[in-house]
């Protein structure tokens, strides 16, 4: 304890230059274009049918998405239009900006969405257990038991609008959304039935954390599938 008492001012002094250096890099004023759809602090637009939140998602995930909008792996003309003349360095800074913001939590007065019990059960079975017979891992195996994501590149699944989730899983099925190979989410989406996609999207969009949940630390989960740029169980235990 005594050691800490002496160490603390030293640590604080050491961390001060880092803080001072990062302050001028605050991109809030630069990124006014993002607010319209993604909220003033990346928390998502309240009541939006479509636009996802960005705050607190892993920076590695956000960077990959920004590059995909620019280079063609994700096709959304408005995003492509804004990204088209940005370089990787700026996209990295934007990704880090949103990753550092507090993760989305339930809006206090938001209406509670209900999901039909049969659909909710189907969704929860896939999320917690997957379906081994079809080679479908549990969603929670990669996205975390609290579905808040995993550093450095697996996003949170809760708090996303239903239509957005349907569009993403549908996009993977049809090849409109593409990630680097191996594109594990494309494989998973193609194994899901359309009714399951609707059930998952409906249930997930009704879930929100009341306290901010950060993505799980890198390496704290070993995803069972090979996904681009992530360590996975088979790699570690051949």
């Amino acid at each position: 304890m005594n050691t800490f008492r002496y160490l603390f001012p030293i640590l604080a002094a050491l961390s001060l230059p880092a803080w001072a250096a990062s302050a001028p890099d605050d991109l809030t004023e630069h990124l006014a274009a993002c607010n319209v759809c993604h909220g003033a602090r990346g928390e998502g637009a309240t009541g939006s049918e479509y636009y996802p939140h960005l705050a607190g998602k892993p920076a590695g995930y956000l960077l990959r998405q920004l590059r995909a909008f620019r280079d063609g792996g994700r096709n959304y003309p408005q995003m492509g239009w804004l990204m088209r003349n940005m370089d990787d360095a700026y996209l990295q800074a934007i990704a880090e900006h949103f990753a550092a913001l507090p993760p989305r939590t339930r809006v206090p007065d938001a209406p509670v969405r209900t999901v039909q019990p049969a659909l909710a059960e189907r969704a929860r079975a896939l999320i917690e257990h997957g379906d081994a017979a079809r080679g479908l891992p549990a969603c929670a195996a990669c996205h975390g038991a609290d579905l808040a994501g995993l550093e450095p590149a697996v996003p949170a699944l809760v708090g996303l609008p239903e239509e957005y989730l349907v569009a993403q899983l549908g996009g993977w099925r049809t090849g409109v959304r593409r990630a680097q190979q191996p594109d594990c989410m494309a494989d998973i989406a193609r194994k899901l039935e359309p009714a399951e996609i609707r059930a998952l999207a409906g249930w997930l969009s009704a879930q929100e954390h009341t306290e901010p949940h950060r993505p799980a630390a890198a390496g704290s989960l070993l995803p069972p599938l090979a996904c681009a740029g992530l360590p996975h169980a088979q790699q570690v235990q051949p």
């Binding site: 006014a32 607010n35 319209v36 408005q78 492509g80 804004l82 940005m86």
Partner: protein
């Protein structure tokens, strides 16, 4: 006199003068587009590529300023292998393969043939469509053409022939490109003396081919001149007129800085020009950018129109709506007085989108937002939000019309139909 003879005599008296007039007219057109020289593609010259790395490096820099790869590369394709589609009102035209492949590219061309193609738009592949800006490349100093030849010889061969053009009537008729040349191609007269600003002229009139967008087009995409920059709508955007008058609101040095990718007082390139700065002009060295600015500032404005300016008036409802929308959505960044803020957000009172003759840029920027290109001069550009989700076509029409009436030259008000027709977003 038999009937036959009478008819022949009549035909001779009436038709012969008509035939002579037609022949004379075609001869005149033929001479005006440059006579027979453009059609005589040099043959029999050996291909000699100069072994001169410095020359090739100079060619590489020129090709980057001139966006050669931008046109001659398909999206996601191999560099310079051609195949990028140009959708025009006259059909779809695919750019050619410029790699060093002897069969599919230009790897078998002599320097003489390359010079000829650059100056006249005619090669062993025939008369090229005017999508290829040979009217501008004709203004390039020969040393620059030779440098481009040396550089292109170093581009790795790609054995692929781009898709054949799919032209529409009348461009699909045999000899259509030759007929277009006769009717519309008027090479600028050769210089009698070296221009005062040779470097600026070589970039603006030559490799930069600025007139392709900033020129005013007439019938069948014709340009009166490869050197006039009187402004025009191209690919859905308005490229403003560039001359002493239109640039006078920008302080000395700011045009050069803008071209190299800086955002002076928040004025960065947007729309198609953002692509041009990001891909090409940010690589201008400082002296060249200064030369371009000096050249543009020395261009005389076009003669004023003799037409009476129309006296448009906005409806009170449109104007009140526009004022309210500006205060709610725009004034935070652009200022209540439209003079911008803190050097971060640009002034609107001097913006060509507001003061220029064509409202299309203001419509597109309002709908889809804007970002300047990220460059070393402006690594983290400020961004303008899109408003397509928030504002209706009626709102955008009222807003754009109000601002253009407030700070512009009393232009025709924009209708919601204009917003719908012109507001499309660009996709790659």
């Amino acid at each position: 006199m038999s009937r036959l003879r009478r008819r022949l005599l009549f035909a001779t008296i009436v038709l012969l003068p008509l035939l002579l007039i037609a022949a004379g007219w075609i001869t005149l057109l033929y001479l005006q587009q440059g006579g027979s020289a453009p059609f005589q593609v040099p043959q029999g010259f050996a291909r000699v590529v100069p072994d001169d790395p410095a020359l090739a490096e100079r060619g590489r820099a020129l090709a980057r300023i001139g966006n050669c790869a931008g046109c001659h590369t398909a999206h996601g394709g191999a560099a310079y292998a051609g195949g990028r589609a140009f959708v025009t009102p006259y059909g779809t035209i695919y750019s050619s393969n410029l790699t060093s492949d002897p069969q599919h590219g230009i790897g078998a061309w002599s320097l003489q043939e390359f010079r000829h193609a650059m100056r006249h738009g005619v090669s062993r592949n025939g008369v090229q469509s005017p999508v290829f800006p040979y009217a501008n490349f004709a203004r390039l100093p020969e040393a620059d053409i030779d440098a481009l030849f040396a550089y292109l010889a170093t581009v790795p061969a790609v054995a692929a022939t781009p898709a054949a053009d799919r032209l529409e009537f009348p461009a699909n008729l045999p000899g259509a490109m030759t007929a277009w040349r006769l009717l519309y191609y008027r090479p600028d007269p050769p210089r009698t003396a070296a221009p005062a600003n040779a470097r600026g002229a070589a970039i603006v009139e030559g490799i930069g081919h600025c007139a392709v967008c900033h020129g005013t087009r007439g019938l069948f995409a014709s340009l009166e001149s490869a050197t006039r920059l009187d402004g025009g709508r191209v690919l859905g955007w308005y490229a403003p007129a560039l001359n002493a008058q239109t640039l006078q609101t920008y302080a000395p040095g700011t045009v050069a800085a803008y071209l190299r990718g800086a955002a002076v007082d928040g004025h960065a390139a947007y729309g198609k020009m953002a692509d041009v700065v990001a891909q090409n002009l940010q690589y201008l060295d400082a002296a060249d950018a200064d030369a371009v600015e000096a050249y543009l500032r020395a261009l005389p404005p076009p003669a004023p129109s003799r037409r009476e300016p129309a006296n448009w008036a906005l409806s009170a409802e449109q104007s009140a709506r526009g004022d309210r929308l500006y205060d709610e959505n725009c004034a935070d960044c652009h200022g209540k007085d439209g003079r911008g803020k803190d050097g971060k957000y640009p002034a609107l009172v001097t913006s060509s989108a507001i003061t220029g003759p064509d409202p299309v840029n203001a419509i597109k920027l309002t709908l889809f937002g804007a970002v300047g290109p990220a460059t070393p001069q402006n690594p983290q550009p400020y961004t303008m939000p899109p408003f397509a989700q928030k504002l209706s076509s009626t709102d955008v029409a009222a807003l754009v019309s109000t601002l253009r009436a407030r700070w512009g030259a009393n232009p025709r008000p924009v209708s919601p139909g204009d917003v719908d027709a012109w507001g499309g977003i660009d996709e790659r």
